[in-house]
Amino acid sequence: MAVLQGEDGARGWRLLTMEQRRWRWFGWFALVAVTVLSWRVMTQDTIWAFISDAPRQAQDIFGRMLPPRWSYMDRLWQPLWDTINIATLGTLIAIVIATPLAFLAARNTTPSVLFVRPVVLFIIVASRSINALIWGLLLVAVLGPGVLAGIIAIALRSIGFIGKLLYEAIEEIDETQVEAIRATGAHPAQVMSYGIWPQILPAFATIGVFRWDINIRESTVLGLVGAGGLGLALESSLNTLAWPQVSLILLIILGTVVLSEWLTARVRKAII
């Protein structure tokens, strides 16, 4: 914020100084330039006839989708069960692996800030930056299609997420409580169990439930790359252009996601 002297000597108030304004103007200019350039590059292979045709296509597709083929539901119970299992078992495996990793990554519990911590942090970042679908793609290529690939894909993606949030929670604990337990002459394991664990337990539970909710969403589409669940049914319906089945599957996915969100909210309220 600045008070500026005008040419006529009158003082006026401005939000920014001239210098700040110049930088801001430059920033906006660069943003517009980059956007326009990106747009040109992005659309150079675009066939505009397809784009202008889209409303008609959309009408056509939605026309075919309605009404959903309710009878197809009989064959969706198994994929639905698989989807829930992929999310739940994947989350459990991830929790089991991520918990020790988080303790190794947190500054106040790691055995070595110099050697162990960077390695664990790299594992966490690598796991987080690859989407569950890409993990699924890799694992289907390795293990073959099926529920197992889905479970491991979800687990591998979740390790980074749970690990990161958990180690941040561990770093934020109240050291005085740990000190108090240590002062009674407790063994390091007892310090962990009575000093650290009770403090991170609520965060631990919320993170696990939160990730489970995300995993339900992700496991509904993992089948698109062959990793089992509802996505597999979606893929086969799309390939046969069975749009009434597609719309039913989309409804089931939406229902599952809404239900898991509701359940998560209930559990979180119970914990906090």
Binding site: L31, V34, T35, S38, W39, V41, M42, T43, D45, T46, I47, F50, I51, A54, Q57, A58, I61, W81, D82, N85, T88, L89, V125, A126, S129, I130, N131, L133, I134, L137, L138, A141, V142, L143, G144, G146, V147, L148, I151, Y194, P198, L201, A205, R217, E218, T220, V221, L224, V225, L234, L238, L250, I253, L254
Partner: protein, 271 residues
């Protein structure tokens, strides 16, 4: 802490308080969990011969990571990267431009009720399905390629940012709005000087964060034909060219880490 105390006659003992207080509820939950786990694990069918065959591939994949091949598919990788990056930039900018008015309209303390309802409905629709499903529908409507991907990411940006903007605006300090209004400021002046200045710092961080997410998503939606590096990765894996796939994955990890550090830096500076 409220521990359980034994009868005063014996030595006093302390046990930790339990997460769930009622014993019957605790045991019922444990029983249900175990039952579910047994059923769930039992229903996972594993083809062990296929898995053992896969171990050879896993070894090749791992070898690929140690010796990634950037060269032989470089032109494809470059094409995919350019598509992903341009898609991300356009979708983030376009999404933000649309998210700002929608977010403003979905804040209960600035918008009239009818507008509030409409904007919240738009947000709910935009957030209903994950990107990959939206991408499938858009590819069916708009044809294969980056344009479908751009629309997908724009929609998800609108859903993500409008909601957060609206929630932020609803939590602003009303006294500043009052102050501007009492100087005789009009609606847009109130928005500019009282609302925007309170919301902007966090918003800049959120936009940077969403850019980061959009790039990650752009590497995925290519799998269903919406262009970008995901399509290149899918092709590489379909051909079992694990060394090229490893190169692509390393590039994705690198760019994601770069975006994450950049967005973290922006958030720290803005906060």
């Amino acid at each position: 802490m409220d521990g359980h105390l034994t009868a005063p006659a014996g030595p006093r003992l302390w046990t930790r308080p339990r997460l769930i207080k009622q014993a019957w509820l605790r045991w019922a939950i444990i029983l249900c969990a175990v039952l579910y786990l047994v059923l769930a694990i039992g229903s996972v069918e594993v083809n062990w011969t296929r898995v053992s065959e896969g171990l050879v591939r896993a070894a090749r994949l791992f070898a690929g990571f140690l010796q990634p091949d950037f060269i032989s598919r470089w032109s494809d990788i470059q094409q995919g990267l350019i598509e992903s990056l341009t898609m991300t930039v356009c979708a983030t900018v376009f999404g933000v431009i649309l998210a700002l008015p929608i977010g403003l309209g979905a804040a209960r303390n600035v918008a009239p009720t009818w507008l509030y309802g409409i904007c919240r409905a738009i947000i709910a629709v935009a957030r209903a399905f994950q990107e990959i499903i939206v991408a499938i529908l858009f590819v069916a409507m708009f044809g294969f390629g980056t344009f479908a991907g751009f629309l997908t990411l724009s929609l998800s940006t609108i859903g993500f940012l409008s909601k957060l903007i609206a929630d932020d605006i609803e939590e602003i300090d009303e006294s500043q709005v009052e102050a501007i209004r009492s100087t005789g400021g009009g609606f847009w002046q109130v928005i500019d000087y009282a609302v925007a200045s309170q919301v902007m710092p966090r918003l800049a961080g959120l936009i940077a964060y969403k850019f980061d997410i959009n790039f990650r998503e752009s590497s995925v939606i290519g799998i269903v034909g919406a262009g970008g590096i995901g399509a290149t990765l899918n092709t590489a894996l379909d051909r079992y060219e694990f060394d090229s796939a490893a190169a692509i994955l390393l590039i994705i990890i690198g760019i994601v880490m770069l975006c994450e550090y950049a967005s973290g830096w922006i958030r720290k500076r803005m906060a």
